[in-house]
Symmetry: C2
Subunit: 436 residues, 2 copies
Amino acid sequence: MKKVEPRILSGFMELLPQDQIQFNQMVDTIRRVYEEYGFLPLDTPTIELSEVLLAKAGGETEKQIYRFLKGDTDLSLRFDLTVPLARYVSAHYNDLVFPFKRYQISKVFRGERPQKGRFREFYQCDIDIIGNESLDLVYDAEIPTVIYHVFQELQLGKFTIRINNRKVLTGFFKSLGLENQVTDILRVIDKIDKIGEEAVREELLDQKVSKDSVDTILSFLQISGSVSEKLTKLKELSKDPLYQEGLEELEKVFASLKDFQVPEEYYTLDLTIARGLDYYTGTVYETRLDDYPSLGSICSGGRYENLTEYYTDQHLPGIGISIGLTRLYSQLKEVGILKENQTSLAKILLVPMDKENSNYVLDIATYLRNHGIKTDVYYQEKGMKQKIKYADRLGIPYVGVIGETEVKENKVALKDLETGNQELVTKEELLKRLTN
Amino acid sequence: MKKVEPRILSGFMELLPQDQIQFNQMVDTIRRVYEEYGFLPLDTPTIELSEVLLAKAGGETEKQIYRFLKGDTDLSLRFDLTVPLARYVSAHYNDLVFPFKRYQISKVFRGERPQKGRFREFYQCDIDIIGNESLDLVYDAEIPTVIYHVFQELQLGKFTIRINNRKVLTGFFKSLGLENQVTDILRVIDKIDKIGEEAVREELLDQKVSKDSVDTILSFLQISGSVSEKLTKLKELSKDPLYQEGLEELEKVFASLKDFQVPEEYYTLDLTIARGLDYYTGTVYETRLDDYPSLGSICSGGRYENLTEYYTDQHLPGIGISIGLTRLYSQLKEVGILKENQTSLAKILLVPMDKENSNYVLDIATYLRNHGIKTDVYYQEKGMKQKIKYADRLGIPYVGVIGETEVKENKVALKDLETGNQELVTKEELLKRLTN
């Protein structure tokens, strides 16, 4: 028979089981922290009507989308979890309790040109809080608090959550008479970390921003000091009402972060954070690993006032943040923060010497499983060496061999694969050993 | 602004948060039991190359598939998790340890004509065991043992796992001289539970099966008694070697099931189980809820010898089973086995009387979360009544009110929303109350 090469598409991640275990542990941690903060789970469809999903989209998004016809129906795969949330909240408005706090951990799809570290199918782990008519600024501080706890638990080393406010940026550019170029300027500034200050200067000049204004913008972006020092310096720079409003919001958010006991070294006010997406209207976030700045932002988001306006007359402001987990995982492996995972989920492999013992073996297996010990049993008729090798290759730390003697003595021959030690134990002793 | 109706496609499931919590609890239970038995997690791409995914497919499958071009690339969404597994095992053969036991809980996609209880996007919860060259028959008993434990834990009432062997059916039809019609006959028999014996008789006659053979087949299907009685009666019916081989396999599988201590009332030998899919070659399974036969099979699978033959020369026989969870969940809600879920994940809502207390409130929240208590905090400036209503509507059982008095006394005013009782407690007492 002619064989088809069992390949997958480039830009798609598929892991070996031990990596998958590690990946799932990260998902579990993120989910656990999200739930600890009262976020509710959601799971919207992967496929949506293009008309609905693309109500707002345009430009780059539209080009990247997986869009196709099934019969006469124009369908698209979701490209993020935020637009489906806006659609969901609009559709289920009457059944939801506001502020509506939800998390969703799902795959999204973007048909980008594949490049290093970019994926076409990847997990996003999102939290969002949607208010009915209004949403208190304290929530703008709760979001980074949750993220602080997530990254603490993920143990990826020191990180910094960078916080800014779009009103400050927009107001500042307005006061320079650049109100018609705000979006373009934001896009350029957003790249400053990637392309550097000089390239930003060039691009701004290309955008017909005057040399004076470019100087003013760049020195504005370089304001330094602690959060409160920066805020004090900023207050003097412009009287623009939007600018001042943004500063007040930042002050409140940072005050709440203090209340929330997030250690100050884990967040900062970074005026260069703009976020490319045009739906952000207030607070914006990015997060970076201090020792690996080249990874870029590993967790970003912000506040949006009008995301549901395409679907409903209700005014439903929201704030949210997203961890692009597939990309993050692949980066963490690459730079070596995540080591190879050597351990299986199963704590022990039980090995019956022959089929006559299977009754006894399964007694032991059931006993262990009932006590929450993940237990694998090897049933293939192979030599003992191969049975041990199965456990060893999978990273199962213990093997319990059961033959005639063990059955007679009502025991298990427990072998520790790391030390090579072997001893005869009762099932109670076995359980004790495995729970330690 | 013109609004777009925020609707989703028919045949797609989207749940409200409280239903989603309930759905996720089922997923968590299934995953936990799968892992307890040593199955490893896998997560293959949603989108695959059509050439690869459809190497084997044909007929109905091909028609239902979501298939489309992106640029010049011919893509398809996976329609099950078994074909991707075959592809995965072929691709990663050298990195896997055999027997390879994996579970995958993921969405699959079938563009069926939407009808009651049918979904176009739905979760499958699969386990499979793949052998290298051979796979012991004990694994054919381990699969239903896992399923027995899953459904015990899901608490859906009494169920029966129905077991048969395709070799018995095929061998029996061969011995009637019907070797060229085996597939067609299996398809008809597979429907006997839905359409009844008389309709099966008609259809078989339509297929040019002689009246005598139809009678023989129908009386064969009606053989009754305990598993061992059936096996004894069956042994006399045909000398066909494939038939006898199938019977021996069944004997071994049922003997192992006994060893595995699955109570006998939870499984049976059912000769009418054929499974529509043509890749099954040995043991086949279906599972039904005894009190709700109309739901049909809620968990099906079987053994396949050649699923990877399209991708590799290696001989990799496997056995697996699948729970179609989206459909099952919707059916369980419909017949009322699953009640409305009234409870949120959060155990308590903390309510600061005013912003000045937020420091203290967050102390309490952090304390509870650190002890694993899911804790929501209400930050909107609303009246107390509305704050309580938030907890009540979400199904959060307790509210902890914190005002000046509480801060001064270092306590929390704990309100039990079910009884209406309220009392002042320390944070340690609070924790104790919430952990009970």
